[in-house]
Amino acid sequence: MRASSRRLPRLPRRATALLAALLLVAVAAPACSTDGDRLTIYSGRTSDLISPLLEDFSEETGIAIDVRYGDSADLALLIDEEGDRTEADVFISQSPGAVGFLDEQGMLSELDPALLDLVDEQFRAGDGQWIGLSGRVRVLVYNTDEVEGSELPDTVLELTDERFAGRVAVAPNNGSFQDFVTAMRLELGDEVATEWLDGMAANDAPTYSNNTAIVEAVARGEVPMGLVNHYYLERALAEDPDLPAANHFFAEGDVGSLLIVTGTSIIEGSDQSEDAQRLLEFLLSEQAQRYFAEETFEYPLARGVDPADTVPPLDSINTTTIDLDGLGGGLARTAELIQDSGLDR
């Protein structure tokens, strides 16, 4: 108390002044940075994987952009919560699930037919509300020290075999896994999908939160194999080329080697729909598509651009469209099946 009694009472006053100043700045700030004629993009793809491209677009077209990065699902919820007040003009989703949700909520506007025609039919929504930009393939990542090449299965359906018990990691709450299960329902029916999920659960498949965690655990040898999207390993190998891990692609056309597309859409009621359309055109241009092939090791979806040599050609990949039309119970049913299987416990 003694020495400090003179010093301490001063703090709150200084703090109040600082606070008042900061609040003033904060209240004043939005007045000068309203949406205006800037193009606002909500991106579920992280800045590491797309910002160079968006900056190129802005530079080439002179269109000023604002990008809010976040988790695809969270951003979809945000746009829906904002409703007609949203500043978002374009939504880039990491998976069809989140963009499909906004489609269901009627938050998306129909895209120009000429734009939709840039990609094959299976890479866009049937109702023309969103379009795919790039794709990742579901693979089985495995530890090369612990798994022999001959052990690897041709089809994902084999993973329910006893010999894989406890050895294949999954991320049941991850959007990519959910999309994969949806594709399985579309292609083989709910019964097969349920059986497979139950089989994986009976096999005590270890669960992880996401692709990054599975690739990390497999490379470390904690679990020998895991179901992930192919390009996480490419990133991991770029940081440490000696990692004892490799991707196994399932046989041609197998439901296990599903292509999961990133979905892009223009928000209904956007006041920048022309610029938004230009952005989508840019993202589907050869220049941008080549970026996806070479920088993020993905499959370009616009016709005429080839993927990197390290991945199998697109025609050997299962490209089932994840479309809600004709899918009983929609995506909610997928979540229900995964939950009921007890995989996640």
Binding site: L23, A26, V67, R68, Y69, E81, R85, R235, T334
Partner: protein, 524 residues
Amino acid sequence: MARARRAPLTLSAASALVALGFATPLAYLVSRVAVGDVRVSSVVGDEVVQDALFRTIVLATLVAASAAVVGTALAWLVARSDLPFRRVFAVLVPLPLVFPSFVGALALRASVAPGGLLESLPLGIDRLPQVDGLFGSWLVLTLFTYPYVQLPVAARLRALSPSLEESARLLGRRPLAVFVQVVLPQARTAIAAGTLLVFLYAVSDFGAVDLLGYPALTRVIYANRVLRRDLAMALGLVLAVVALLVTIAERRAARNAATAPSLRTKRSLTVPLGRWRWPAFALVVFFLLNAIAAPVLSLAHWTRRGLSSGSLDVQDADLWTPVLNTAGIALVTALVAVAVVLPLAFLSTRYRSRIAGPALTLVVGGFALPGIVIALSMVFLSLNSPLLDRLYQTFVLLVVAYVVHFGAQSVRAAAVAVSSVPARLDDAARMLGADRWRRLFRIDIPLMAPGLAAGGGLVLLSTMKELPATLLLAPIGFETLATRIWSATEANALAEAGLTALVLLAVSGLLTWLLVVRRAELLD
């Protein structure tokens, strides 16, 4: 008795207003569930939900129990014993709180799980045990949450007058008996308050349980948040009700524990540990090796790997902006969080009031809600109220969201701090003609400073790692260290994530030292 006094109207009004703000997430959940087509009754009857809820409660109870023991022991050792290097420990001990659980758990697991880095060190470890499920989540959450107990308890212990302990010793009590019979009862409310925070945090945590494969209720909420939003919202409401019930129960229990006001005229006692000095030191070091060194080992390993393979360029990383953003917004939030809850702390400890109880419950219980719910509720609030919609996507709303989420951490610390100011001092000043503000600034705040700093420190550390609200509510382009770490982890750029997390740790260490530890020492 001071408590019998009736509260001034302004104080009651201010507290009620604060409580209303804190009720926003709850109101949001209720309104969402009301318009949704999922009935809470059918959700609660669902076996999957019951199992998940049960697991959440088991985990939270275990974590709360262990964090209470560890936090109290560390607080006493660092604040009141002659533990070697205790000034260094005073800075290190609160640090694990700043690990965002998604990267902390990932890093910890990369060190101590099978195949982890510890196996490659010459320690004679052949195969590490699995760190996952209930055991892994309990371990990780205990290691990352005990500061919720340690910081406020250390502040309380430092504020205790030595006279009672001295008397007990003179009466022949052994040191352990003094601790159990004299020190613990006086620290009881601080321990209980911290333990409740740990419980609520464990209930709300998603990052750690998700990464460690423990299917708690938050996992069901996250898995369904888009595909079955109505269900997720109903589950959020279930979580909120559990949190409120537990908070009420704790308040009931705490009501009987009177906090003895303490007017310290002398330094609090430093207890010599004698022959236990070095064993205690070894124990603290071992604990911190797990809580800090293990995750740091992985983070450093990732960073070094990225630097040597060339995938990480420190020059390119440009961490200054996120460092300043993070520190700035966290400091403002901590100050606001303390200022906002102060009226409530006064109301609940000094006066008889019907508002205080429910208000406190709302403030504290809200801590158990997942960050995404808080963030969405703020969008809902600001876009639907004509006064607040100007604030949408401004720093003001972001700070409000942080405060609503983390205010629980400052309110109990503030209440403990207020109750440790002897009412007779206030009475004396009043009789000498000092007005309310003068009494506040000349008597209350100086005496409460360590307690308030501890509460503010908790808010500070929590804000620095906050992710969902930052991503959704911050003005576009506002990057913090946490958003950087998240972005890098999502892209599997572990080198960048590692480096950024190390910087986050360093910045929080510096701030903790400047604002919490040094401030407490100033008083000695």
